[in-house]
């Protein structure tokens, strides 16, 4: 009998009598008797909070990959970054956590201004002027970008580098069943997109990743040239942490930027809720998916914020809307603004730099191990791929016994052969090092991996 309902028995009786009723059952008279669930729900009765907590403790105990216990070298779009106490405290304020979509701006200036600040940061990190107020995650943000490209060109062909994360490409393929988009995946050679190996004519979008999912930094001017030649939109999926030191998507000439914002204050969370980052050029503003916050004034001429360009959205435009997105990831967007505020200009540069330093330090040592080979000879940033003499999933299992989540098996991410890796994908391990990893942890990791491969 545990619940959060305020009514006493007497309340219920008097409220029913106000309605001329005697039983709660009377309230459901509209539902045809034949359909009613006579025996009640086939669920156990309610438990008290401490009893449920005990149940959940059995779940958490069998999650051995808890990064607080097992040192995390896995990335692939989900990174173990520092989230300080101050960010947790601010982002968990109940005014942010328990509000709804800011439909009444007069009492929602807190969320609206925080999202405006988030949008400003996304714009700066992407180098593009028009951000939105967030999407579900990077993979679904890519789908929205493809839909935007279709809207801009009326064409259906989407040419996507296989350096784009395999899950993002899988999601793009799923939604193409509905939109009818033709998804063309471009193979990598030595970790770099071989744009000339596919026919890009008639493309609505050219999609590149920066760095790509193998960690490689590709020269995006090739992809940009391809897009310009086809009059297609150039979509760049970029790592927003790397954007602290690398050229922005906008500097590479992107029309649309998408990215995964989990790195900004959101824990690993087993994959969600995460944060889909999105920004585009001014030319595409009327095709923007989801919500956008704009600055204006109130009736007393004071600065105020409000969701704007609403005529694009599903609740007004219905079947002609630019997207069906309604609920987004506002709390993660607010969290990202807080985390970036905490990092500041120099902090973000430091995090990006330390990720690159740690990854290169580890890479050099791994390549010194017998049988470990590079997947690409090209420059990388904060993540890299190595080919092991044993299947990567076996190595991950052995390394877990030594207290390390060793990385991600490329074969598992791609669910089989993939145009990103020419052969032997099951032996490829993706490894990342964040600013949280110490030299001590990295050195132990190397020693353990030597043992695992011996």
């Amino acid at each position: 009998m545990a619940d959060y309902l305020p009514h006493t028995k007497e309340d219920v009786t008097s409220m029913l009598s106000f309605l001329g009723m005697t039983s709660l059952e009377d309230l459901f008279a509209q539902i045809p008797q034949a359909l009613r669930l006579a025996r009640g729900l086939d669920l156990d009765d309610g438990l008290s909070e401490p009893d449920v907590a005990a149940l959940f403790a059995t779940y958490t105990r069998s999650n051995t990959a808890n990064a607080e216990v097992m040192t995390c070298f896995a990335g692939g779009g989900a990174y173990d970054h520092e989230v300080p106490a101050v960010v947790r405290a601010l982002a968990s304020r109940s005014e942010f956590v328990t509000a709804y979509t800011p439909y009444q701006p007069e009492v929602a200036q807190g969320v609206l201004q925080a999202v405006f600040e988030y949008q400003t940061l996304v714009s700066r990190l992407s180098g593009l002027p028009i951000p939105n107020a967030s999407l579900y995650d990077a993979a679904t943000a890519l789908v929205e970008a493809l839909n935007m490209a279709h809207g801009a060109t009326s064409r259906q062909k989407m040419v996507i580098s296989s350096g784009v994360h395999p899950h993002w490409r899988q999601v793009a393929r799923t939604f193409a069943h509905g939109t009818g988009h033709e998804i063309v995946e471009v193979p990598l050679r030595d970790g770099v997109t071989d744009w000339r190996s596919v026919d890009s004519s008639g493309a609505a979008a050219i999609v590149a990743a920066y760095p790509n999912y193998l960690g490689v930094l590709e020269d995006l001017s090739v992809a940009k040239g391809n897009a310009v030649e086809r009059d297609a939109l150039f979509i760049v999926g970029a790592d927003p942490v790397a954007a602290g030191v690398l050229k922005t998507a906008g500097q590479w000439g992107a029309d649309v930027f998408v990215g995964e914002g989990q790195a900004f204050g959101t824990p690993l969370s087993f994959g969600g809720p995460y944060l889909g980052l999105f920004a585009c050029t001014g030319a595409q503003v009327r095709r923007l998916p989801g919500r956008i916050v704009g600055e204006t004034v109130d009736s007393g001429d004071r600065r105020a914020f409000v969701t704007t360009l609403r005529a694009r959205e599903q609740d007004i435009r219905r079947e002609k809307a630019t997207s069906n997105v309604c609920t987004n990831q506002t709390l993660m967007a607010v969290t990202a603004a807080v985390q970036l505020g905490w990092l500041g200009t120099e902090g973000l540069r430091q995090v990006a730099t330390r990720c690159a330093q740690g990854s290169h330090y580890l890479y050099d040592q791994l390549l010194a191990i017998d049988g470990v080979e590079p997947v690409s000879t090209q420059p990388f940033f904060r993540e890299f791929a190595v080919r092991l003499p044993r299947p990567a999933d076996e190595v991950i299992e052995v390394m877990a016994g030594h207290g390390f989540l060793a990385g991600l098996a490329a074969g598992a991410l791609a669910s089989g052969p993939d145009p990103s890796i020419e052969s032997g994908i099951n032996h490829v391990l993706l490894v990342t090092v964040t600013e949280r990893r110490t030299k001590h942890e990295i050195d132990h990791y190397v020693a353990a991996l030597k043992g695992a491969l011996a």
């Binding site: 305020p6 149940l55 808890n66 007069e106 509905g178 939109t179 030191v245 690993l268 973000l348």
Partner: protein
């Protein structure tokens, strides 16, 4: 008992603080200030220029903001004081189900045993997460009367689109290329938008005088080209579609499928199940029905459950029980594919499971009963000033109309909504559903006490009196809030989406 003063009384929170304009983070920035602290790692500090070719490096630092930790805390705390929330007061926003979110569920989700697990960890190292997902899926199926579910969709609209892709896969597997999906004119806007993205055309079905799907109009629209119908039941008028069995039979006879929009599932928990009504596909808004916090607009979670004949098409991978009490990822044989970058909004899923476990079957049934009780009490309590659009028993929400106020005093639904903000309540949903003139849609939810409902009714009575004596004051409302009415037209005319935009 109308108007009787009661102990415990006014639960409203007015005015909220924060009347002064807050500078932006960027306006507060002072070069050289900082808040960040990073771990001492001992990793060699090789210059970036020797790790990354120069053509990739940005010659300029991307400016973020430079503030102290103290300023950061003050800034976001002050912003939070300019924000209404469920924890602060009643939020009767119809269709959005802004009930109280138990703190316990947040605590569950913040345990590092859940929150610090990498989504790409192998199944053997994340058995607890897989067990949570399997258990939640089973319970959601028990609640909806379905056979299997995907937990991947990140929100209701994502669930809708997933459901439509499942509908498409089903028909294609049967060698059929149906092109149209039926939607009642009372539907949420996400329904038609999702239909378009699902590759279908929308055919709108009119409601009858009772606010329900017109069965004759529906039958006239049905043919071999109809892939299915999307229905919200109870519908957005807060009314139960009483002829649902006849609707289901007609749609199924024409070879179509029934899609249940679970936005209003909270009204029928333990009373009736979508599966028993004949639905083939159901999405649930876990953030509404199972009380996970809405986060100012998200995150949500929109699992989709399906009947037996459609399980084979569900997105994958899905967590599943395998031998020896273990769990593994399994992709259904004819899966439509992945619809989320990882496994869905996992921490929202965990909160929902904790909520379901605390309530149990008995508690969830009471949740629906009390939600319906509160909506009907409010509808009846307000009948003199804001009559119901359809004057009879409603479910978890009631759609009232401000037409009498407009006719008598020139006061519109929007004015009533804004005046309520001054009274310390969040406004109801206004001008939806589109088929009701001057609609005010109230969803009190089951977690508000009768004292709070009475306080809301009293506030609306005061607004009604002001409408008669000083209607202009309502056109100017709200005044006691952090900002007064905002100039939405100006925002749209000249977009300023960032602090860097030209002004």
């Amino acid at each position: 008992m109308t108007g009787t003063p009661r102990p415990g009384g006014r639960a409203a929170a007015a005015p909220i603080m924060g009347h002064e304009t807050e500078p932006t983070l960027f306006e507060m920035s002072v070069p050289g200030r900082s808040a960040y602290q990073l771990r001492t790692t001992g990793v060699p500090a090789t210059p970036l220029e020797s790790l990354v070719p120069f053509e990739h490096l940005n010659p300029d630092a991307v400016p973020i903001a430079e503030v102290s930790e103290r300023d950061l805390v003050a800034h976001f705390t002050r912003l939070s004081h300019r924000q209404f929330s469920v924890d602060l007061g009643m939020y009767p926003l119809g269709s959005c189900t802004m009930k109280y979110n138990p703190k316990f569920c947040d605590a569950i989700a913040s345990d590092p045993g859940l929150a610090a697990v990498h989504p790409g960890a192998p199944a053997a190292l994340s058995q607890g997460w897989l067990e949570i997902m399997v258990t939640l899926e089973e319970k959601l199926c028990a609640i909806t009367g379905m056979s299997g579910a995907t937990l991947q969709p990140a929100a209701g609209a994502a669930g809708e689109l997933t459901g439509l892709l499942l509908m498409r896969a089903y028909h294609r597997a049967n060698g059929e290329a149906r092109r149209r999906v039926l939607i009642p004119d009372s539907a949420h806007g996400t329904n038609p938008a999702s239909v378009t993205l699902g590759g279908y055309e929308v055919t709108t079905v009119a409601s009858n005088a009772r606010g329900l799907v017109d069965l004759d109009a529906l039958k006239a629209a049905l043919d071999g080209d109809v892939a299915g119908i999307m229905l919200t039941n109870p519908n957005t008028l807060g009314l139960f579609e009483e002829e649902i069995a006849e609707i289901a039979a007609a749609v199924h006879d024409a070879g179509g499928l029934l899609y249940y929009d679970g936005a209003n599932l909270n009204a029928i928990l333990g009373a009736v199940r979508p599966g028993d009504m004949g639905f083939d596909i159901v999405h649930m808004n876990l953030h509404k029905t199972f009380a996970t916090p809405h986060g100012g607009g998200g995150p949500g979670a929109g699992p989709v459950a399906v009947a037996e004949h459609m399980v084979t098409f569900l997105p994958g991978p899905r967590a599943a029980r395998v031998e020896d009490g273990h769990f593994d990822w399994v992709t259904p044989p004819r899966s439509i594919g992945r619809v989320h970058g990882w496994q869905g909004n996992a921490l929202v899923l965990a909160r929902a499971l904790a909520y379901i476990d605390v309530h149990g079957g008995d508690g969830l049934t009471r949740v629906a009963q009390h939600a319906v009780l509160n909506a009907n009490w409010l509808r009846w309590r307000l009948r003199e000033i804001l009559p119901a659009a359809h004057d009879r028993l409603c479910m978890h929400e009631c759609v009232l109309t401000a037409t009498p106020l407009k006719t008598k005093y020139g006061v519109r639904a929007l004015d009533v909504a804004k005046a309520l903000l001054e009274e310390g309540f969040h406004a109801p949903t206004v001008y939806f559903p589109l088929i009701v003139d001057e609609a005010l849609m109230f969803e009190p939810t089951e977690t508000e006490s009768v004292q709070t409902l009475e306080a809301l009714a009293s506030a609306l009575e005061r607004i009604d009196q002001r409408a008669a004596t000083d209607p202009d004051s309502l056109h100017r409302a709200p005044q006691s809030t952090p900002v007064s009415r905002v100039d939405e037209a100006r925002a749209a005319r000249h977009l300023i989406a960032t602090a860097d935009a030209e002004r």
